[in-house]
Symmetry: C2
Subunit: 118 residues, 2 copies
Amino acid sequence: MNETQALDALGALSQETRLRIVRLLVTAGPEGMAAGAIGEAMGATSSRLSFHLTHLEAAGLVQSRRDGRSIRYSAVYDALSGLIAFLMRDCCQGHPEVCTPAVAALSACACPSPEPAA
Amino acid sequence: MNETQALDALGALSQETRLRIVRLLVTAGPEGMAAGAIGEAMGATSSRLSFHLTHLEAAGLVQSRRDGRSIRYSAVYDALSGLIAFLMRDCCQGHPEVCTPAVAALSACACPSPEPAA
DNA sequence: CTTTCATCTCAACCTATCTTGAGACATTAA
DNA sequence: TTAATGTCTCAAGATAGGTTGAGATGAAAG
């Protein structure tokens, strides 16, 4: 992820409705959710929801596919991990005090420890 | 870091000049840099720079202290690692495919491996 | 005390973002 | 085909964000 992509992603996530949509879609898993279901969960009108979903998709954080009458949106995991990696990479240079606590906080969650890449 | 703080931090970082300021200050270390030096590095007028530094300080990402005639700004490492941890925590729930690659990418940088907290 | 230097503050302007409501488009069912 | 459903598009208006330039403030030097 380069600086421009990171700026787009950060801008997309810096809005309450959009941040919540992403969180919802991450927990929804790869199947994602229909736009209508997302709108219901957010309490947003179809127009407003569409605006934010389009924004998120343009930033590469979510993707969509038609499913009958509905359009299903799902999180793009690569983009999210890419953003986190960008922040770590940028902030970490010579300053482990930034990312080490973040990684430590991670051990409190359900993720497995990172395995050294082959 | 709660949702409101995360939104503030994301909003602050979603602007090119501000993202670059933070990167600069992280590499500058705890001593930070005088506003004038930052402005010179950014190619920004004093007014514009002050606007962005104020924004970053309000978001808790940088802090300032007077040093003679200058005002020195430095990165707040806790806020940066807190934001990264927030994104991981939120995105990771049951979906290690988000944060595991990010942590793996970290091993490519100069940071030590995370040590299990005592 | 006056001058100089570093930075901040303010008002004005322009642009971007967000919300709303009406209507269009695509898909499915009758 | 017609009707119903789900979602998108568009235009309008409100709000927030970014830049500029002029001037104010605060600290140090002469």
